[in-house]
Subunit: 351 residues, 2 copies
Amino acid sequence: MPATAPVVLSIDAMGGDHGLQTTVDAALLALAEHEGLQLVLVGDESLVEAALKARKPAALLRARIAVQHAAEVVGMDEAPSKALRNKKDSSLRVAINLVRDGRAQAVVSAGNTGALMATAKFVLKTLPGIDRPAIISPIPSMSGHVHMLDLGANAECSAEQLFQFAVMGSALVTAIHGIERPRVALLNIGEEEIKGNEVIKQTAHLLQASQLNYIGFVEGDGVFLRDIDVVVCDGFTGNIALKTGEGVAKLIYHYIKQEFTRSAFTKLAALAAMPALKALGKRMDPRNYNGASLVGLNGIVIKSHGSADALAFAAAIRVAVREVQHDVPARISRLLAVALPQLPKAASGEA
Amino acid sequence: MPATAPVVLSIDAMGGDHGLQTTVDAALLALAEHEGLQLVLVGDESLVEAALKARKPAALLRARIAVQHAAEVVGMDEAPSKALRNKKDSSLRVAINLVRDGRAQAVVSAGNTGALMATAKFVLKTLPGIDRPAIISPIPSMSGHVHMLDLGANAECSAEQLFQFAVMGSALVTAIHGIERPRVALLNIGEEEIKGNEVIKQTAHLLQASQLNYIGFVEGDGVFLRDIDVVVCDGFTGNIALKTGEGVAKLIYHYIKQEFTRSAFTKLAALAAMPALKALGKRMDPRNYNGASLVGLNGIVIKSHGSADALAFAAAIRVAVREVQHDVPARISRLLAVALPQLPKAASGEA
């Protein structure tokens, strides 16, 4: 990052399963990594100060940290609507307020996903032309990675909303990865045009009539095996696909462990195979992909996995830095203005 | 199988990607495995006879094979409705007819899934009280395996249909695996009661009020990691989950290969690790799970993967034998009669 472009992020220091010390440690890691970065740690002031002191940061590094007091914490299992209504002084809410007030360019939280989404939508509002924000994240694939959305924010979606997701995904991939015309596919249960429900067929028509680089349907296995940049689906399907993938990866990891500890011989073989197995474990480690974006908002909001350790949370901060540097919300607005189908009604009715 | 209970199956000899010789080879494998088994191979008579002759089967084995002529073949990509309307003398249709006419107790096909489903539904009809058949298959999980349905027959389902799927899955698991009260879970995007769409919430109410052993929601990862017997979902979600799992498994297999061929050292390590890697490959091999059941029909219909080789197709024949021996359709009807919620209307409206 050039020193001329400082980035200021607000961090929900109290969110996540591992608590304050983890987010503080992640903040220190991120500051060491990015020269122009400044962080506002939001949470109980005395607790945050104590967690900082425990790590004795260098003065130059400490100078790039501000602490913003917030008296409340949103529980990981708290109902989003209740958190939104009752916890106006939560670290999550105050951290988002800083973005609304222009005091930070993005917010990072490992807190309650539903509460983060509901609060961010309420405080920041969606971008003009976007009905609902969506959750997007890169996931590993044969060709490197693919960005998938929505991963769970909207259980049911209209064709128009799915189309907006395609725009948001394309804009983000172009902004962050410099891919000019990202290949967009629609998740479906077959690749033939006749497959899928009405919403999916309508979305396909909208995408075909649009300026986006729509390449057709993709099946569940194709997400990981084909060369695609953006996969679009509703939040129910996306969440099932994402978690199914996590489950299968854990199951295979379990199989590997079982097979390599089956006998004295396989245990010896495991020693020989350790470098390869370690490299494999690293590639399968979901922490490398930590940091999902809540796109479609009037501001940048990054969700870290609740179980993130300091390294993983630092990865989520890295995602926020990148999105600030490439001004993702503005890119979405710009693409939305030109991507809309020329004849949306004819396209969805007759094409 | 005791010699006292002969099992007669009809085999769609022409279905599948690999053609006739593969199904004939599978038939010979299955006959060698099951003493009391008799098979009717359905397809072009002269071609089937030629494929049989090519393998020179022993006379005693050959005596347990009948050939039923069928002049047409349903293409793997043919529209199911067209196949149903126009191909009345297809191997797929004639093989199903044999079950309707009592000349076979079950049918096995590696042909076009949609055509098999549509034709089986048309010819055999659904069981009383079942609106639509579903596709069920065991999939590997941490506890051994879990049966999941629907895997793609019905993209959209009502709560009543999902409830029927739960009954069908429970009856099948009890019949085949002797588990008296199979644990049934509903696939959802969270485990809290407030999660999911209206259909899923209604289904949960029906299941709670039923005699089934309903244990609540399961997320995508839990399918593979938790101890569950039957996972219920609509065919869209089930197909996405199944194929996502296949995609991730293939991706990880690709990673393993890459890591173990990265250098001369890792290649040597791979040699040492070969027994463990082979055992792993065997456990991940989807052929071990070949043979999905189309349940809810007035007859037993087993779908083999289109790409099945002879070993895999023989596994599908094994599934058919087991379902005949345990009379799965009758078990479904019996469970349906007692499992229905006592107060379905109150349960779905007010619970």
